[in-house]
């Protein structure tokens, strides 16, 4: 799987927040959504998703509710809270700054440091 990128430490939380912000989802749905929107480029160990979900819930960034899933079974659906939305945009902005900085660094040419 050479086309899959390794997840940077700490980015899983941001990915979950983003996935949940697109609409309520259960655990497996969150996983599928991340894979789908990343075009399969981001690999997440499936079980590791849950401790992250519980941590975000514990911190009040997402909320959960039991409902019926597509296969008509009981499932727990996650939804973004207001603090979660705020946190997501903060982290998104931070991420963009980092990406811009990294891009600038990587695009540097020898002429630039003269």
């Amino acid at each position: 799987m050479t086309d899959q990128a390794e997840l940077l430490p700490g980015t899983l939380d941001l990915l979950i927040l983003k996935a949940v912000s697109l609409g309520n989802a259960h655990g497996y749905g969150v996983l599928l959504r991340i894979e789908q929107i990343s075009g399969g480029a981001l690999e997440i160990q499936q079980g590791a998703l849950y401790p992250a979900l519980y941590r975000l819930e514990h911190q009040g960034l997402i909320e959960s509710e039991w409902g019926k899933s597509e296969n008509n079974r009981r499932a727990k659906f996650y939804r973004l809270t207001t603090p979660g939305r705020k946190r997501m945009s903060e982290e998104e902005a931070g991420w963009n700054r980092l990406v811009a900085a990294m891009t600038a660094v990587l695009a540097a040419t020898p002429q630039q440091i003269r």
């Binding site: 940077l8 430490p9 700490g10 980015t11 939380d13 941001l14 927040l17 259960h26 655990g27 497996y28 160990q45 499936q46 079980g47 590791a48 849950y50 401790p51 992250a52 519980y54 941590r55 975000l56 819930e57 514990h58 911190q59 009040g60 960034l61 899933s69 296969n71 079974r73 009981r74 499932a75 727990k76 809270t81 207001t82 603090p83 979660g84 946190r87 982290e91 931070g94 991420w95 700054r97 980092l98």
Partner: protein, 906 residues
């Protein structure tokens, strides 16, 4: 950019965390089940997907499990994510907590006794800790506040009372010290403050060097702080005001700078307002420049000042002390007469304020704290005895649980959790008691004193205090839960298992526990009489009011301030005395001329505040009495009738008179009653070769005041006040005519004093009623404290005796049953049970009486003679009776065991 998400902050984040934790602890099983269901659901969906992708069902399920990873480690990380891990590690579950709560209800007596005892102990421990922290270990809330130090000239001859006539030292230290910067000085004056179109009030004013402001590193809210230029001779008077005064007295006027305010008789211009919370050096509201000119005074003279500074960067207290000592030694060599005995010292600022100026005093403060906290250990040990007794009744349960595989750790953890429930409830109650006490203390201090508490003192709920209470609660839970738990799960479990079938699985009460209870009875018997001896009179004194019309009096302390101006300082001591005498006399004359004033007298003490003096009574010997030197017309002004003989006449006030008056307590307690007129007393000479003149009792008055502190008997001796021997202080009593409130005369009184002589100083001015209220409150508070502590000791010792008896009876249950079955009379059986308890109680009681006598010798009051002689035996009987009563229940219970049941174990 931070990669980690620290989570929701603020109130919502905290609420979410608490809710999640609460749910995790309370509904652990539901949470675990939900987690398992969620994982299962995930695996099913994934398996379905894989089947759709063409895998065989079996292979799809296998793949889904592999992709998911190790379920148990995900669950473990999920628990950690919910903040449950610390609880898992401790092994306390909600079940344990629920069991603890159920135990509270199941043993209400035990719970009540334990909670009451521990609440009082925790309240006392926490209160002591809180006060010490707030007063002694506090840090100044200033930038690098811990580096602000007090500088003193300690006088080993009077500890805690440094020599303050230190203008020369101040200049020297300021100019020579390198390790302390911004050496500053201040003096406090309580002056009437008058704002145009406002009423005058008395406020604490700091006369402070400008360097004092620089040292605090606090910028003014408006305007400027004091500057060196303001200190110059002839500079126009300026004042910096506090935020509170700006709000209250100036209506938060934004244009306050430049406004005039009168402090005493001098008009000052407001040049600055300090920010809220600033009260440096103590809790001052106004700051005016302090002009110190050493050339105006001799060494060792000048006004009384308090000095402070800031440690230079990189310098510690010891280095500063070393340098200061060197400077001090030079000063002592140059001025041996005034400085030979003085020891300059650098001290932690708040500690210096509290008078904790040497290691032994700091050590005393720490010991006091330790003793206060130890009280909880004593109480907890008692509760442990009770819990141990209860644990013995539950040995069957514990044995079965151990047999079913519960580890020792698990059983002990459960007992610990149960104890923690008890101690946490006690902690909450104890902490609440402390806050009630603190707010009362604060109110009282603020009411009685214009200065109030120092600005750095915070008697509130601090995280440290909460942590301390939590620590105490855990300590108590360890003693109460873990100790009996370890003992109960030791060898006893093994033998318990063997005896389980007979239903007699019980613990034994070892010798150590028995000895503990006997000791406890002894302590109760020894301490209770003294507690009653203190509490009883404290309550009655606390409720008593003096017989004179206290609400018509104003009281204050009059003294002559050391001259500040060079011209005044040149006056010699005799001149100072004459000036004080004349000024005081003039003040009295001026006050008597006021229409609202009924009368004015001076005395060495305000009635009720007398100090002890040693006197020799002809034909009786030496004794301590409470002495007051009074103006002749004090008795008429205070409406005190003369019971025998005569009152003082004007002639008695002249030197050479030998007339004294005593009160009824003096007649009865010291002279043994009868006609005492003409009997003679004299002040006990300091040295054998010194003769003091004999004085003759010419009159007897009733007791018309209530002593400020607890004193069993306070014989009073009144001597005419001789012409002033020192430049103060002398106490002023002003009676304001009925119909006028004394408090309304305060400002006028200060104005008159100031106009009579600007150097005549009136301190501690208050209404006599306020002082009375304070006295009553502190006595009642003391009484309440004593009653609470002794009450809980008595309660716990009775409970201890009850527990001990339960043990005794329980361990002899079978024997009692068999003896009853064999036809022994119940009385005989009972006698046997009570014999051992009775012996132990009697042993404790006798030991207690001996201890009481020993305490009496130590304190110098024996309860075995005189009015209170009945107290120790009464208490001994009472404690024994309570013990026997406590024994009655278990004994009766033992007798009621049907013989068949008792024999079943055989």
């Amino acid at each position: 950019m931070k990669h980690r998400l620290p989570g929701g902050s603020g109130v919502r984040g905290v609420v979410a965390r608490i809710r999640s934790l609460w749910r995790g602890l309370l509904r652990r099983r539901d949470v675990e089940a939900e987690m398992a269901e969620e994982f299962r659901h995930h695996l099913e969906l994934r398996t379905d997907d894989l089947i759709r992708q063409g895998l065989a069902p079996g292979e799809a399920a296998r793949r889904a499990r592999i992709e998911f990873g190790h379920v148990e480690s995900h669950k473990e990380r999920a628990r950690a994510a919910r903040g449950l891990r610390p609880f898992d590690q401790l092994g306390i579950s909600w079940l344990d907590v629920k069991l603890g709560l159920r135990m509270l209800g199941k043993y209400p007596g035990l719970s009540l006794v334990s909670v009451v005892g521990m609440s009082v102990a925790i309240a006392i421990g926490t209160g002591g800790f809180g006060l010490l922290r707030a007063l002694v270990y506090a840090e100044l809330p200033l930038e690098e506040g811990e580096r602000v130090v007090a500088l003193q000239n300690a006088d080993p001859r009077s500890p805690g009372n440094p020599n303050a006539r230190a203008v020369h030292d101040f200049v020297r230290w300021r100019d020579e010290l390198g390790s302390v910067t911004d050496v500053s000085a201040y003096m406090t004056e309580e002056l009437p403050v008058t704002v145009p179109e406002g009423e005058a009030t008395v406020a604490p004013v700091a006369r402070m060097t400008a360097s004092g402001f620089r040292l605090t590193r606090v910028d003014p809210l408006m305007g400027r702080v004091l500057l060196e230029e303001d200190e110059r001779e002839g500079a126009s008077p300026v004042v910096v005001i506090s935020y509170g005064e700006w709000q209250r007295r100036f209506g938060a006027d934004p244009n306050v700078l430049g406004r005039a305010v009168r402090l005493g008789r001098t008009a000052h211009t407001v040049v600055g307002v300090m920010p809220a919370g600033f009260g440096f050096p103590i809790n001052h509201r106004y700051w005016v420049p302090l002009h110190l000119d050493p050339t105006a005074y001799d060494v060792g003279g000048g006004p009384a000042i308090t000095m402070f500074g800031r440690l230079a960067p990189g310098v510690d207290l010891a280095q500063a002390q070393a340098e200061l000592s060197t400077v001090g030694q030079r000063m002592a060599r140059e001025n041996p007469a005034t400085h030979e005995h003085l020891r300059p010292r650098v001290l932690h600022y708040p500690r210096a304020y509290m008078g904790i100026d040497n290691p032994s005093r700091a050590w005393m403060a720490r010991t006091a704290q330790l003793v206060l906290s130890l009280l909880l250990v004593v109480v907890a040990v008692n509760v442990a005895i009770l819990v141990y007794a209860r644990t013995s009744a539950r040995m069957g349960e514990i044995t079965v649980r151990s047999a079913l595989g519960a580890s020792r750790r698990r059983v002990v953890t459960q007992l610990f959790a149960e104890a923690l429930v008890l101690s946490l409830i006690a902690a909450v109650i104890g902490q609440s008691l402390v806050f009630i006490g603190f707010s009362w203390f604060e109110q009282r201090v603020l009411q009685g004193d214009t200065m109030g508490l120092p600005f750095w003192v915070e008697l509130g709920l601090s995280p440290v205090l909460v942590a301390y209470v939590a620590g105490l609660a855990v300590l108590a839970a360890v003693i109460v839960g873990v100790l009996p738990g370890l003992k109960a799960t030791g060898k006893a479990v093994q033998s318990g298992l063997q005896q389980l079938h007979s239903g007699s699985s019980r613990l034994r009460l070892g010798r150590m526990w028995t000895a503990l209870i006997v000791t406890q009875v002894a302590i109760a018997v020894a301490v209770l009489p003294y507690a009653l001896y203190v509490a009883g009179p404290s309550i009655s004194r606390g409720l008593a009011r003096p017989t004179y019309p206290v609400e018509e009096f104003l009281r204050g302390s009059l003294s002559l301030e050391e001259g500040r101006a060079p011209a005044e300082a040149a006056e010699d001591d005799d001149a100072e005395l004459i000036r004080f005498r004349q000024s005081a006399t003039e003040l009295v004359r001026r006050l008597e001329a006021e229409p609202t004033i009924t009368g004015v007298v001076l005395a060495s003490e305000f009635p009720g505040g007398e100090g002890v003096a040693r006197v020799e009574i002809e034909g009786v010997g030496r004794t301590g009495v409470w002495l007051n030197r009074i103006d002749p017309d004090l008795f008429p002004l205070f409406e005190v009738p003369i019971l025998a003989g005569r009152g003082f006449a004007d002639g008695d006030a002249t030197t050479g008179s030998n007339a004294v008056i005593v009160d009824r307590v003096f007649v009865e307690e010291v002279l043994g009653g009868g006609d005492v007129l003409g009997r003679r007393v004299r002040f006990a000479p300091d040295a054998p070769d010194v003769e003091t003149p004999w004085l003759e009792i010419v009159g007897v008055v009733p007791e018309f005041t209530v002593p400020p502190v607890f004193q069993p008997e306070a014989p009073k001796l009144y001597v005419p006040r001789a012409p002033t021997e020192a430049t103060g202080p002398v106490q002023l009593a002003v009676r304001v005519g009925a119909g006028a409130a004394p408090v309304s005369f305060v400002v006028r009184l200060r104005e008159i004093t100031e106009s009579v002589d600007p150097r005549l100083h009136l301190n501690e001015l208050e209404t006599a009623a306020t002082a009375e209220d304070e006295r009553q409150q502190s006595l009642l508070f003391l009484a309440l404290l004593v009653v609470a502590v002794t009450g809980s000791v008595l309660l716990l010792s009775s409970a201890g005796v009850y527990a001990m008896m339960s043990f005794t009876v329980a361990s002899r249950r079978r024997e009692i049953g068999i003896r009853s079955a064999l036809g022994a009379a119940p009385e005989r059986v009972l006698r046997g049970v009570f014999k051992r308890a009775g012996m132990q109680l009697a042993g404790g009681a006798v030991g207690g009486l001996l201890l009481a006598e020993a305490i009496g010798r130590l304190l110098g009051v024996s309860l075995f003679r005189g009015e209170y002689a009945h107290l120790p035996p009464t208490v001994a009987l009472l404690v024994t009776a309570i013990g026997l009563l406590a024994a009655w229940g278990p004994a009766r219970h033992g007798l009621s065991v049907p013989p068949t049941e008792a024999l079943r174990g055989e």
